[in-house]
Amino acid sequence: MKNGEDVIEVRGMTKRFGELTAVDHVDLTVRTGEIFGFLGPNGSGKTTFLRMLCGLLRADDGRGKVLGHDVIAESEAIKREVGYMTQRFSFWEDLSIEENLDFVARMYGVKNRRQTVQESVEELGLAERRKQLAGELSGGWKQRLALAACLIHRPKLLLLDEPTAGVDPKARRDKLLADGTVDEVISRVGLTTWEVKGPDLAKLADELRKTSGVQQAVAFGNSLHVSSTDAAELERAIRPFRRDAYEWQQIPSGLEDAFISLMEERSPHHGKTS
């Protein structure tokens, strides 16, 4: 597949579960070398759409090609060339990291299996834990295993379903994902975020939301994230709030901040579209 060709080219993809239409006529074109992300609240059909692309669910309507194979009729061929990482950890918890990877490698008929598995274990920094059972791993390590497993057969297309779910925010920034996919998404949004700690944050958030220049003020545990796409305006807007009781600190925007920003943009309340 040459650069610039369409990796995914689907039209009218639709999936219904009884009365509910989970995915309603989605068209998508993704070209080689592109990174494409879906954002949307729970139940908006992200997982269902990905599952249709890799042949896990039969589409009720729609047609197109994934990696040049017919998305409906040739799901077997698609499966061989796609690396799909499920949203929920779906590896065998009673097998070790190494055994899981070895099994996956066998299923894809990977050449030089043992060597490939060893390399994959080392590449993702799993070498010390290779004998550990997958069920005993923490969330972040499970993600690493899942990523290693879906890369092992050198897929041409990676479909990652919420690859950072279940990982603590610090670990998310920990170069978990190859090629800084998440960072790229965030930087495209161009958001500046300040973190506030102090008393009665709920009241503070209300006030901040009424202040022009503040696009969003969202509670994260015991802190508040205040963000805007205009850094200078934001700094001016928050100046009156930087009182003694509060501790303000500028932080790199996280995926959640970016996500909320994108959702707000699209909501009719703001009337803006990107």
């Binding site: 599952r51 890799c54 042949g55 896990l56 669910l57 039969r58 194979h69 040739e74 799901s75 077997e76 061929a77 499966k79 061989r80 796609v82 799909y84 499920t86 929920r88 950890f89 779906s90 590896f91 065998w92 918890e93 009673d94 097998l95 055994e99 070895d102 099994f103 996956v104 066998r106 299923m107 894809y108 008929g109 059972l133």
Partner: protein, 380 residues
């Protein structure tokens, strides 16, 4: 050809080794493998007895004559009856029967011996608690021949016309294969079939549903595997488990229960393979139909109970009405029981066995075909 991957032995081997690893780490499977055959074998092997003896009986003796006493001694010596109570009135006897404290009340009326010697054919009344026919049947059946011979000594000389005369026919019965009527010879080989049915159907019944419930099915389906690879890959490791069970039972049958082994053990091993596969296939097919593990277990029981009751393991197959026999013929256990008993007790050979074996093969093929067809390639 590229588009539809052919059956791959490499993938099959991968699935088999994964199942082996999981089996090794799952204590419950291990326990099922050895624990169930051992417990059931000792429990049922020693407990089940279709020839109950030493049944508690009460006596109501209104006669002091020698003949009455002779008959009571004869009953006691037959070991079927244990006289535990002596009652004075019929009422008392009834109460004991009603409360289940005795199985029989033997009533020898007044002047029994006198009437007997006169040739008046006095009545000897045996009242039995026949709620469970199997418990009383054999004991009651033993009475008539017992009384005939018991009085041989008392009725000699002048009294000999009173003794039972031999009929016009000299009846001879040869009880073949199990002349001593030892229950274990029937039960223990049967248990092999019952234990295999139970554990094999259950183990594979959980196989696919477990993958579904743990969410690993999504992963398995996103890989380029074929249904036949997954299903066969999940069956093969448990064949070994089945063989371990067969070996445990055979060793116990030989050393603990001294079950005769007339026929070829090799032939038995081959038949066992077919039977194990049939049950594993049944389990895995349930697994493809059931939505979760609980449903799979319920389905396993749905088949297991009638298998035990209608196969001839618990009750004589030929005693059932025709329709029940037809139903019974449908279970692989029915045929396996005949084969195992045939090989071990009767020394049946390949030709004898094949009459039953093809039906198990047919069952396995049909069930596995349904399973492969039912196995869903998608999450829908």
């Amino acid at each position: 050809m590229e588009r539809h991957p052919k059956f791959s032995f490499q993938r099959l081997r991968g699935i088999i080794s994964k199942e082996f690893l999981q089996m090794r780490r799952d204590r419950l499977t291990f326990a099922m493998m050895l624990g169930i055959p051992l417990i059931q074998l000792t429990l049922f092997g020693y407990a089940i007895n279709s020839d109950p003896r030493h049944l508690p009986a009460a006596v109501l003796v209104a006669d002091q004559g020698a003949q009455g006493r002779t008959l009571l001694y004869a009953m006691k010596n037959s070991s079927y009856f244990d006289f535990v109570r002596e009652v004075k009135t019929e009422r008392e006897g009834y109460n004991l029967l009603a409360r289940g404290q005795v199985q029989f009340v033997i009533n020898i009326p007044q002047n029994f011996s006198r009437d007997l010697l006169r040739g008046d054919r006095p009545v000897l009344l045996v009242e039995a608690d026949a709620t469970d026919p199997a418990a009383t049947g054999i004991a009651l059946g033993s009475l008539e021949p017992l009384f005939d011979t018991a009085l041989q000594n008392d009725l000699k000389g002048m009294l000999s016309p009173l003794a039972a005369t031999s009929g016009p026919i000299d009846l001879r019965v040869h009880s073949l294969y199990n002349p001593e009527v030892i229950t274990q010879y029937n039960i223990v080989p049967g248990l092999m079939g019952v234990i295999l049915t139970m554990t094999m159907v259950m183990i594979t019944g959980l196989a696919i549903t477990r993958e579904r419930e743990r969410g690993t099915m999504e992963n398995l389906l996103s890989m380029p595997t074929r249904p036949s690879e997954v299903l066969i890959g999940k069956i093969v490791p448990y064949i070994l488990v089945g063989y371990i069970q067969v070996s445990v039972i055979l060793v116990a049958a030989y050393f603990l229960f001294h079950v005769p082994m007339q026929g070829s053990i090799l032939l038995l091993a081959i038949v066992a393979l077919v039977f194990i596969i049939a049950n594993l296939a049944m389990g895995i097919t349930f697994s493809t139909i059931a939505k979760n593990q609980l449903q799979a277990v319920q389905m396993a029981f749905f088949v297991f109970l009638p298998s035990i009751l209608l196969s001839g393991f618990m009750f004589p197959f030929r005693g059932m009405p025709h329709w029940a026999q037809v139903v019974g013929e449908g279970f692989p256990l029915t045929h396996f029981l005949r084969i195992v008993r045939g090989i071990l007790l009767k020394g049946n050979n390949v030709i004898d066995v094949s009459l039953q074996l093809w039906q198990i093969v047919l069952f396995a093929v049909i069930v596995l075909a349904i399973g492969i067809k039912r196995y869903r390639q998608t999450l829908d």
